[in-house]
């Protein structure tokens, strides 16, 4: 079978390669249908794919469940919790007391999480609160919800967003998730135990962070996307394009098989 990978499969594969064995991963609530696809469905497929390949000892934590059987996902994860998930088997329902849930996070037991943003800046600071002045914003968004916790405590964070120019700014209008704030040393100075963002994944490209300057840089461009297309749709003002930008490695035909036959056999999560 030599079917071409879809953009969502390419994105899931890019995440899958960032995931390691023996880790715990956390995925929270998403708002808006497009965000649900990018922030819930793509990471779920990636995590299940990793569990089915190189990371069987990892733990998927989603609202209400530990290690759900992702292949049995009834539909896209439209709402946190809810009774429909009773049809979705898992190793453990997190019927827990909220402070147990909280403890897992503040104790630093989550190795990696996922965020969506309305804006992300050159140091990976994230904003889901408002566009414009906080007291009279042009656009009021959902509020910080769990983003401060993700970026304060998790080992690392993957930001998953639609590739639109306005999403990438020099400085976010409101910091709801701390990236590297003002650059090297900022997180340490704040006393934040988590590692901060490690990747910005879009439907066009992958970004990571320069290990010394902590500035966002373009890491790879997805198959079929040109550098000009990325440049035209990225609002960063700093020099984020290295001399050589490779193509994002697409899933192998084996990996495509794993996604389509094992992980998401009914295409409940990713459109094909």
């Amino acid at each position: 079978m030599s079917e071409k990978a879809t953009i969502y499969e390419i994105m899931a594969t890019a995440i899958c390669r960032e995931l390691r064995d023996d880790e715990t991963w956390f995925l929270g609530l998403a708002t808006g249908e497009e965000t649900i696809l990018l922030l819930s469905c793509v990471p779920l497929v990636a995590m299940a794919m990793a569990q089915d390949t190189h990371a069987p000892n990892s733990t998927i934590m989603i609202p209400g469940m530990f290690n759900p059987v992702v292949s049995e996902a009834p539909t896209a994860m439209e709402a946190e919790f809810g009774d429909r998930i009773r049809d979705w088997r898992c190793e453990m329902y997190s019927t827990m007391n909220p402070n147990l849930h909280e403890a897992t996070h503040t104790r630093g037991e989550v190795d990696l999480g996922f965020s969506s943003v309305a804006q992300v800046d050159q140091y990976g600071n994230c904003n889901i609160v408002c566009i414009g002045d906080y007291h009279k914003p042009e656009v009021r968004l959902i509020g910080p919800i769990h983003q401060p916790g993700h970026l304060a405590f998790f080992g690392r964070e993957i930001v998953v967003i639609d590739h639109e120019k306005r999403n990438f700014v020099e400085r976010v209008d409101f910091i709801s998730g701390v990236g590297f704030l003002d650059g090297p040393g900022s997180r340490e100075q704040l006393g934040l135990p988590g590692g901060g963002p490690c990747m910005i994944l879009t439907n066009k490209a992958v970004f990571d962070f320069h290990p010394e300057t902590k500035l966002v840089r373009l890491k790879s461009i997805h198959p079929g996307v040109t550098l000009d297309e990325v440049r035209d749709n990225t609002g960063f003002t700093h020099d984020y394009i290295p001399d050589q930008v490779p193509e994002t490695p697409p899933p192998s035909s084996d990996e495509i098989q794993i996604i389509r036959q094992q992980v998401d056999p009914r295409s409940a999560l990713l459109p094909r």
Binding site: A30, E33, F81, T95, T106, V178, L190, G191
Partner: protein, 313 residues
Amino acid sequence: MLNNGDLTQGLSVMAELKEKVCSLGEAAALIPDGARIAIGGFAMHNHPMAFVHELIRRRVRNLTTVGHVNGIELDLLVGAGCVKRVETSYVGLEEFGLAPAFRRASENGELELREYSEMVAFGRFMCSSRGESFFPSIELMGTDLPKHNPDIREGVNPLDGSKYHAIPAAEPEWVVLHAPMGDRYGNILYFGNRQMPLNLDLVLSRCTTNLIVTVEQLVSREHVYRLSEYNAIPRFRTHAIVEVPYGAHPSSCLQLYEHDKQHLRMYADAARGTEGLQEYLARYIYGVDTHMEYLDLVGVESLVGLRVVGGNL
């Protein structure tokens, strides 16, 4: 050793076991203008919506809502002009997008906002439930939340000199929840295998004894004795209890019915404009006198279609 000395005085007066059942109108009338109120539920689940509708019909004003993850219950209250100040981590409609009325009011600068993160917002209620006035957190270090929330203060840990934020307890004056069942005396029963949204409601229930609970069905005292392991809120906490079938619609009542996606989508579309929001309020809230009339408007077919009786048990 028991002291048998003064028992006669207590025994000489026979008191009644207090019934706490009241109507939706009587319960809503307990909330004065300017009250500080925590409305239970989480995102799409278990909001006491019939109670919220009644508050709106009573045109209560200047509320401060203290919450964690808010949805349509807060959007409606804001849209109807009942709210002065909002303390929360999220106001949104999940798959149906941003909360339209909250968004508009915020963009017009009409609300006092006190922004917290989700876990810190949970923590504020746990703090209140322990009777403490604040707790320390490093979660918000470096974010803009403390900059725009004057209730959060920076402090120094006296043990090691590190910095933290002092987070004030939630301290609601009133808490209102929606639950599956309860008795006339205020015992509140949930099914087993509760998910986190319901456990959060229980944390809220421990923050005050000014607790109002709407329930799907009143059950007998015998029922409570028989199912005492499901009794999650002891009656001394409950100030008033109201029987309101489908009282969480269009949010869910977990383990009984799901949130009404069709209705929520209709609301999200309608409320995007001021006029649409006013039409929604006029039709579903101001235009009906009772919760039963509201349910008539929603329709039997829609309501029955939402049932998941025994879900996730």
